[in-house]
């Protein structure tokens, strides 16, 4: 690494014009990417990381401008370049990969053309030559049958393929620097692992320099040499990745790392450490240190002095006046759980699901017509609608006070299953019994008592609350509907519920848009608790939240479980989150369970091959990550619609035996009481698998 850095951002300040006047979104941000190096830019939502990428490219939206600072690329000050010169730089010397692959691709153009475009316009290639080169690039990023895929349209490709295509387009002109803005956030974890493998290989083979933007610490740990922690538009810490993660200096970094859910078998005993408070309002930032309202080490100096980025003794950059003092202190751990876990008396399970099936018909009347000219038939059509079996024969029980985690990637049917339990969808087949009542086909009137007992919490805080109602009305409505309270009694109850979810009582008069994501999610929980339910379906309740807020909500749910004796069906796609709250876990793939067992049983071998690859794919920051086994799946989950005969996992299974996996549905092996795996592999082989994660405790 000689000479000046490839990308040198110094003192960059960017502001946006908003309805409330100019808002500074990035404040004096400085960072450097050297040749052959990769820099990770970590921040939660609202930290300004995407704005930084757009500023470097000169693509700030109208209303945004660079107020101060310099961006130098290869010693050239980008601010001095004309629009045309900047355009030439983009795509040719600097490549960009955006977050959501489907929307970054033009739906009307074939993939190959979109990859070939930079070649045509920057390198002056002819269309045919560029197309051939594009096919070669698609092969390089791991797309099978590149000639065929080059002619495909974006909507015909899966998310992983689309993202590979975008990476190919970014690499087309062999740029010096590639900026990636959350490239794997929209992808399933197994696909994410494939893409990260690809990026690592490309770094080695092409000596790529990367600016990798992400909120996912594990991913950044894998890919990046150096990391820059961004909070509310300010760089708080900056240094080599391994060291920053091993010995974080800034309190925010400590807090971030501490709030990550970890894969441990004892996780459900431990509490997660959230970062209290919420993101500052950039239009009215707090005086002094931007982080001080949430910092456990705060003292009066922090509240008055604006912090500056200083280099500490190890060459680390930290923006904290107390960095030296707190250097070796960990983020304060939360108090241990006070309420001991209520042990459920043995007896009937609260929820019993038997052989549940849910099918969706694809397409309408006309697309289900199939041409089939046959002798002896009057019309050359048959009508055969394609069905997708979202849930295909699932059975399980949940005891009172027990938490069953349901884990799977997108499209596996876990949300559908959850919704069937609370009758938001009607099951096609099977039985659902809640507290002794069969609710599978009950009428609305008969469902009433069951609805009181079984509630649901949703994923998206912005969508789960009616924007035109106050918090008090939202939380109080169930009380009215079920005739539980009215008038003053109702107000009192609402206040109690708000306190239960740790919100101040006066929030009852606020509207959802005045609340933060975490607060909205709490309101959703309070609403679910209003009827004093015994069972709650939690449909990805923390997925849409920032990591620091996730921890607080998970703690809340766990505490409520303990204090109220609630049972949950906790749906998530992240095993590490589930490990913290669940007693047992079911791993779901394309409509059926492939493994069920206690958390510690799931985390250790024997595994179902899918569980093993899921665990192996989860990016975990911390030592030992590099030595982990890489067990990768081929291809994508697919969309269903084709009938399944054998094991539904066989097209991707790295341990596929042979024809038996294709023809015969796998038997359910009982490894231990309560621990089941559906696989053709013999038990001894399963037990001999390598552990996929280094699990603490």
């Amino acid at each position: 690494m000689t000479g000046s850095p490839l990308l040198d951002v110094e003192g960059l300040t960017v502001q946006y014009e908003t309805g409330r006047g100019p808002v500074v979104v990035l404040e004096e941000v400085s960072l450097r990417v050297r040749e052959g190096q990769s820099l990770g830019l970590v921040g939660e939502s609202g930290s300004g990381k995407s704005t930084l990428a757009l500023a470097i490219l000169g693509l700030l939206p109208p209303g945004g401008r660079i107020r101060d600072g310099r961006i130098r690329f290869r010693d050239q000050d980008l601010g001095t370049l004309s629009k045309e010169e900047m355009r030439i730089l983009r795509g040719d010397r600097i490549g960009m990969v955006f977050q959501d692959p489907l929307s970054a691709l033009n739906p009307a153009l074939p993939l190959g053309l979109q990859v070939a475009e930079p070649l045509i316009y920057h390198k002056g290639m002819t269309r045919q030559a560029a197309w051939r080169e594009a096919e070669a690039l698609l092969a390089k990023v791991g797309i099978p049958r590149p000639a065929e895929f080059a002619r495909a349209y974006p909507h015909q490709l899966s998310g992983g393929m689309q993202q590979r295509g975008l990476i190919a387009a970014a690499l087309a002109c062999r740029p010096d620097l590639v900026i990636l803005d959350e490239p794997t956030t929209a992808l399933d974890v197994t696909i994410e692992a494939q893409i990260l493998d690809l990026l690592e290989d490309l770094r080695r083979s092409d000596r790529l320099s990367l600016l990798f933007i992400s909120h996912n610490l594990g991913v950044v740990y894998r890919i990046c040499d150096e990391v820059c922690i961004l909070y509310a538009g300010r760089v708080l810490e900056y240094g080599p990745t391994q060291e920053v993660f091993a010995r974080p200096r800034h309190p925010y970094t400590k807090g971030l790392l501490a709030s990550l859910p970890r894969l441990t078998g004892r996780a459900r005993e431990a509490r997660l450490t959230p970062i209290p408070g919420s993101f500052p309002d950039l239009a009215a930032p707090p005086p002094g240190c931007i982080f001080h309202p949430r910092c456990p080490f705060v003292d009066p100096r922090c509240m008055q002095e604006v912090q500056r980025l200083t280099t500490d003794r190890d060459g680390r950059l930290v923006r904290c006046c107390k960095a030296e003092a707190v250097a070796d202190l960990p983020w304060p751990a939360p108090a241990a759980r006070e309420t001991p876990r209520a042990v459920a008396p043995p007896g009937d399970p609260l929820v019993r699901v038997t052989d549940l099936r849910k099918e969706f018909r694809l397409g309408g009347f006309w697309s289900s017509l199939r041409m089939q000219p046959e002798a002896g038939r009057l019309l050359p059509f048959t009508w055969r609608p394609s069905q997708v079996r979202a849930v295909d024969g699932v059975s399980f029980t949940i005891a009172p006070g027990e938490v069953l985690g349901l884990v799977g990637e997108s499209g596996c049917g876990k949300s559908t299953l959850g919704r069937c339990l609370v009758r938001l969808m009607d099951a096609s087949d099977g039985r659902i019994v809640i507290a002794g009542r069969d609710v599978t086909t009950a009428t609305e009137r008969d469902l009433r008592p069951a609805r009181r007992i079984a509630q649901i919490i949703f994923q998206n805080p912005d969508s789960s609350l009616n924007p035109r109602k106050t918090v008090g009305q939202i939380v109080g409505r169930p009380l009215t509907v079920f005739g539980l309270a009215s008038g003053a009694e109702r107000e009192r109850r609402v206040g109690e519920l708000l306190e239960m979810v740790r919100l101040p009582r006066f929030y009852a008069s606020r509207y959802p848009h005045q609340l933060s994501g975490g607060e909205k999610q709490r309101v959703g929980i309070a609403r679910a608790l209003a009827t004093a339910p015994r069972f709650i379906v939690c449909d990805e309740p923390v997925t849409a939240l920032d990591v620091s807020v996730q921890a607080a909500i998970l703690n809340l749910l766990a505490d409520l479980r303990d204090s109220l004796g609630l049972a949950y069906l906790f749906i998530a796609h992240d095993l590490s989150v589930v490990a913290h709250i669940a007693d047992r876990v079911a791993v779901m793939y394309r409509g059926a369970f492939c493994e069920v067992g206690r958390v510690d049983e799931i985390l250790h071998p024997p595994y179902h091959p899918y569980t093993q690859s899921l665990l192996s794919a989860i990016p975990v920051p911390g030592a030992g990550a590099a030595e982990r086994q890489r067990i990768r799946l081929r291809g994508d989950p697919g969309t269903g619609g084709e009938p399944i005969r054998g094991c539904r996992f066989h097209p991707r299974c790295p341990r596929k035996i042979g024809a038996i996996c294709e023809e015969v549905p796998p038997p359910v092996l009982e490894i231990a009481p309560g621990h089941q795996i559906a696989c053709h592999l013999p038990v001894e082989e399963l037990k001999a698998m390598e552990p996929a994660v280094v699990v603490a405790g």
């Binding site: 919704r419 609370v422 938001l424 609805r451 649901i456 949703f458 994923q459 789960s464 009616n466 609403r527």
Partner: protein
């Protein structure tokens, strides 16, 4: 407060006030004939001149405001009263009911608006109120569609799912959860429809299918003014300009409302 809203509201309110006070403001009765003063240009006695029967154009224009405006509002009210509930039901219920409603609306929408209006008015002696109701019926599908599309979007929101998980009745969900969130785009569309309604109503009157003589509906006035248009253009110009002004006002108001109620769309452009 966007300027279009201010101007639009200003114009509309002025026109409404003038229309309401027309009987007081008009110097003459709208049907008062002064045969001696036929086809006189604007003067101090007749501020906007007279028509072929010596009737004061100003008075007729002022009185015509009531007719045209109120007809426009009535038509829009009919469209809203029928279109919004249909749209809510179609968007929320989906399935067969939705299909049925959509097909029925498709049939109505397959007619070019004026043809449908003419069709209905051809078979019954036209009056301005029948015209207004007919125009309202013609625009029911448009309002139904926008309501349905908004409802479809809202029905996917999680707070609606939460309501269903509480076992709320569909009527409650439509009225208390969906409608309060749906009305901004509906209001915007409705304000746009008022201008269409006024214009269509005037066109039908122009063709003789609306108000009948001696009424001073603006469309009718323009139609009656046609033979005299090169000698006495003021007879046609007065109601014509009045209509332009009114429609411009309502359009501005609609644009302004859109900016206030849904800034995201307003930024993208008008319409």
């Amino acid at each position: 407060m966007p300027s279009s809203l201010v101007w639009g509201a200003g114009i509309v309110i002025t026109v409404l006030v003038v229309a309401s006070l027309a009987p007081l403001l008009a110097p003459y009765r709208y049907d008062a004939i002064h045969l001696a003063d036929r086809l006189k240009p604007p003067s101090r006695t007749y501020l906007l001149g007279t028509d072929e029967f010596g009737r004061d154009v100003l008075s007729r224009t002022l009185m015509g405001a009531r007719l045209s405006l109120f007809a426009g509002f009535l038509a829009t009210a009919v469209s809203l009263a029928l279109g919004v509930p249909l749209g809510l039901v179609a968007g929320y219920a989906r399935g067969r009911l939705d299909e049925f409603i959509m097909r029925a609306m498709d049939v109505v929408m397959s007619f070019p608006p004026i043809l449908l209006g003419l069709l209905i008015l051809a078979v019954t002696p036209p009056t301005i109120w029948k015209t207004a109701v007919t125009v309202g019926l013609v625009y029911v599908p448009a309002l139904m569609r926008i309501t349905r599309s908004v409802t479809l979007g809202l029905a996917q929101e999680e707070f609606i799912q939460a309501a269903r998980a509480r076992g709320e009745r569909p009527l409650y969900i439509l009225a208390a959860e969906i409608l309060p969130n749906a009305w901004p785009p509906i209001i915007v569309e409705g304000s746009l429809r008022i201008t269409f309604a006024i214009l269509l109503g005037a066109a039908l009157s122009f063709l003789g299918m609306g108000a009948q003589p001696p009424s001073s509906d603006w469309g009718l006035m323009i139609s009656e003014a046609r033979p005299f248009v090169d000698g006495a253009p003021w007879i046609a110009l007065a109601p014509g300009l009045a209509m332009c002004l009114t429609v411009v006002g309502v359009n501005l108001l609609g644009d302004g409302l859109r900016e206030v109620l849904d800034p995201r769309i307003a930024k993208r452009g008008r319409e």
